[in-house]
């Protein structure tokens, strides 16, 4: 037998009719027969109140799922409260106390009353829109309201809304959307507007979340962004970029720099060698004028005995026995040399060098101790040099000796610099601390956008929205939105974490705007972002 009873329900004046059917199966289920428009059935049910039980049951069943408000209810909705009850403190552990049960029931009742409230608006406040399935847009048929400042677009003289914007405005109670001349419910909106190939449910969740916070959210259009190349052309090079480029030029082509360095070194060598060559003859002159030491290694024979170079026969003279004339001391007259030393038939008289002697400075120079030491060192060096020169057997070796001496004089000892592995840096060269640090650095710094322009997009990861700050909503212009605050990429907790490749590709697509990953977890949204970060250097170039 059927049994039925009335159960009074919530603030919405609906009576539910709870039916227990025992004739169908063990599972007690409710049969639902529902007409199309609830209001109609209400009237029918009221009219059928007098008739038999079955009709009453049927009507009541129809009412069970009825969420349509009667006109009186609609009218009464004008004076609804607009406040949300504040949630109190939670309990820690459930004990079966009455107090807890009561509080739970109160919370639940509050919860249901909020959830089951239906949206009621004045028809004059609603903007009428029509859903166009083929174009997947909502066309507005009455003038747009305040939301037009940040949402929607116009085309062909008509105003359109994107599906996610339309759905959000429906939830706010600002627009009423019609499809085939009938108003659609929010459930219809979700099912028709959201799909995996257009706006997904997760993307709409993120969109709604941000809009409710007040942000201005637009769809991201990758083709509207300037490519990295275009950006390079149009924007002035920032200092960082120029610095990076300079660094690259220095470090990336080692062969180039090495060769340039070599060239530089060679130049300097040449200079130094040539400058050395000048003091060398000068030094060679000195012994000639200094008081009587009788150097016997005067092999070049340039100054004193030019005629001796003309002798073709190898000299078998004992040079150690031939003394140079002392031009400094004495009266100023130089005795003629041994005729045996002269080529045949030449007779030389006494040479008067008095005029030359006047040109010689014989004044004893009062040297300080430092200068004396310096002179000593120099003379010692000259002795060493002379010994080394003596060891050379031919001009080639002499030139090598000069090169070696030149290198050492610059501080480049051969055992360090002539092998395969050379020192990183020549101490005599000027270098800034930053360059030196660069030379000894093992880990090269890399930047997020290195090589990013070569990457192509991969399908599941794409930037969905541009997000603009809420405080600029008053003077926001849809035609010139300006630089977004962030760009959103929507993903799920159950999917993979984005890897470096994805991050690079999205960052390069986004330009200088940070990319935020909105991770959706069945109703919870968390926002994550990756920042490009350089380790600090205590070095200022």
């Amino acid at each position: 037998m059927d049994s039925a009873f009335w159960v009074p329900c919530m603030p919405i004046k609906l009576f539910i009719y709870y039916l227990k059917c025992s004739n169908t199966s063990e599972h007690k289920e409710l049969f639902i027969f529902h007409g199309c428009m609830g209001a109609m059935t209400r009237r029918r049910s009221a009219a059928a109140a007098g008739s038999n039980m079955a009709d009453l049951n049927k009507a009541a069943r129809e009412d069970f799922y009825n969420e349509v408000l009667s006109p009186s209810e609609l009218f009464a909705a004008r004076s609804r409260s607009r406040k949300i009850p504040v949630r109190g403190q939670k309990d820690f552990f459930p004990d079966d106390s009455d107090e807890q049960r009561q509080r739970l029931q109160q919370s639940l009742d509050e919860h249901w009353s909020l959830i089951s409230e239906e949206r009621v608006e004045r028809l004059g406040n609603l903007v009428k829109g029509v859903w166009m399935p083929r174009r997947r847009l909502v066309e507005l048929q009455s003038p747009a309201g305040k939301f037009w400042q940040t949402m929607g677009f116009s085309a062909d003289g008509r105003q359109y809304l994107l599906p996610e914007e339309a759905l959000y405005l429906m939830e706010c109670g600002s627009v009423q959307i019609f499809h085939e001349d009938l108003p659609i419910s929010i459930q219809d909106g979700y099912e028709m507007f959201l799909s995996a190939d257009a706006v997904t449910l997760q993307q709409f969740q993120v969109f709604g979340h941000l809009k409710r916070l007040g942000y201005v959210v637009h769809r991201f259009d990758p083709s509207a962004e300037p490519s990295p190349y275009a950006r390079q052309l149009n924007l002035p090079l920032s200092r960082g970029r120029a610095g990076r480029a300079l660094k690259r030029r220095r470090s990336s082509s080692p062969t180039q720099t090495c060769s340039s360095e070599h060239a530089q070194e060679e130049d300097m060598e040449e200079e130094q060698v040539s400058s050395e060559r000048q003091p060398a003859p000068a030094e060679e002159n000195d012994p000639g004028t200094s008081a009587g030491e009788g150097r016997s290694w005067w092999t070049s024979e340039q100054h004193v005995d030019p005629k001796q170079t003309h002798s073709s026969a190898p000299s078998r003279w004992d040079f150690s026995g031939i003394a140079f004339p002392d031009l400094g001391s004495g009266e100023g007259l130089v005795a003629p040399p041994d005729p045996a030393l002269l080529p045949g038939g030449l007779s030389v008289g006494v040479c008067d060098v008095a005029s030359w002697r006047q040109k010689v400075n014989l004044r004893r120079v009062r040297e300080s101790a430092r200068e004396q030491r310096r002179e000593e060192l120099q003379s010692r060096r000259m002795q060493e040099w002379s010994r080394e020169v003596q060891r050379c057997r031919n001009w080639v070796e002499y030139q090598e000796l000069l090169e070696r001496r030149g290198a050492e004089h610059q501080g480049r000892p051969a055992h360090l610099w002539s092998g395969e592995v050379t020192p990183l840096h020549d101490p005599a060269q000027p270098v800034t601390t930053a360059e030196l640090l660069e030379k000894i650095r093992v880990i090269k710094p890399s930047h997020l956008l290195d090589g990013a322009s070569r990457l192509s997009g991969s399908d599941p990861w794409r930037i969905s929205f541009n997000v603009y700050q809420p405080d600029s909503a008053a003077d926001f212009k849809k035609s010139k939105p300006g630089r977004p605050y962030a760009r959103m990429c929507v993903c799920s907790f159950h999917g993979p974490v984005p890897d470096l490749r994805v991050i690079k590709q999205l960052a390069s697509q986004s330009g200088d705007v940070p990319v935020v990953f909105a991770v959706v977890d069945y109703g919870d949204i968390s926002f994550y972002t990756f920042k490009d970060f350089q380790l600090p250097q205590d070095v200022h170039p």
């Binding site: 539910i16 909020l114 069945y522």
Partner: protein, 281 residues
């Protein structure tokens, strides 16, 4: 570790709850109707609300319908009392419905106009003190009757959340399911086993992505109680690295919840290990 104070998992009793209608949107199971939400809640399944709250749509603290079900919750519903995918509206929208809608609008406008007039009269009466004579009052009311106009733009209209006009027979439920298979995400069976076991012990479960786990375990309704555990599903035969354990234990201790490592074993039972950060003894 077994908690003997909580009763063991029992067979889900087929209670006297009606079949819940699930609507699928972008392969996610959503519940729209308030009665369905109540049934689901009374079955101990919490879900997550996604939409704006009608009373205050521009805030994120309290959200409204639809309710999104976890894949485990949806599977449990289908195995238990019963849930079926609601059919999409087919060619129902036709001239008939349009006619009805217009009729309904006009009748609603008439009724509301009457109510508005009554309301205005009552306000006028309240405003008029007894200083005026009875005749003057009647005159005023008469004038109101004459001049009162209830424009179309003042009509209060409902923007329905759930779709009206649904009908289906539970006897045809199996037929419906066959016709429209639920194309939702399949849940890995280990997670479902853990979910079913914990639910059977009377706990309420929600998703815990933010806490680094699989489920948040509440001892009672989440409206009134804080969560006690973060449940992490671990395969019983797979080794777990110590660093992972440390990470999850740290997370749990920071939010003052116990981490519960759950491993379903072959015979349908689930083994639990709890991790709690305590000092050195």
């Amino acid at each position: 570790m077994e908690d003997l104070s909580v009763p063991r998992r029992e067979e889900l009793q087929p209670d006297s709850s009606p079949v819940v209608g699930i609507s699928v949107c972008d392969s996610a199971p959503l519940i729209w109707r308030v009665q369905d939400l109540k049934v689901v809640r009374s079955g101990g399944l919490v879900g997550a609300l996604l939409g704006s709250l009608p009373r205050t749509p521009r805030q994120n603290g309290r959200l409204g319908r639809p309710l999104l079900l976890l894949p485990e919750e949806e599977r449990l519903l289908r195995e238990g009392p019963g849930a079926a995918v609601l059919p999409r509206p087919g060619g129902e929208r036709g001239a008939e419905l349009k006619r009805r809608f217009e009729e309904e609008q006009t009748s609603s406008q008439e009724e509301q106009s009457v109510l508005a007039l009554q309301d205005r009269k009552a306000a006028l009466l309240r405003a008029m003190t007894s200083s005026l004579t009875e005749e003057a009052q009647q005159d005023r009311l008469g004038a109101l009757d004459q001049n009162f106009v209830f424009p179309r733009s003042a009509l209060a209209v409902q923007l329905s959340t759930a779709r009206a006009g649904l009908h289906y027979c539970p006897e045809a439920r199996s037929f419906l399911e066959a016709e429209q298979p639920i194309k939702t995400q399949p849940s890995p069976s280990s997670r479902f086993q853990v979910f079913r076991d914990l639910r059977g012990r009377g706990f309420f479960l929600t998703s815990a992505g933010k806490f680094g786990g699989d489920f948040l375990v509440y001892p009672g309704d989440p409206l009134r109680f804080h969560a006690h555990f973060i449940a992490v599903c671990v395969e019983s035969d797979r080794p777990v690295g110590v660093l992972d354990l440390l990470a999850v234990a740290r997370l749990g201790s920071n939010v003052k919840k116990t981490v519960l490592l759950c491993s379903p074993v072959a015979d349908g039972d689930v083994r639990y290990t709890s991790l709690q950060w305590s000092g050195m003894v």
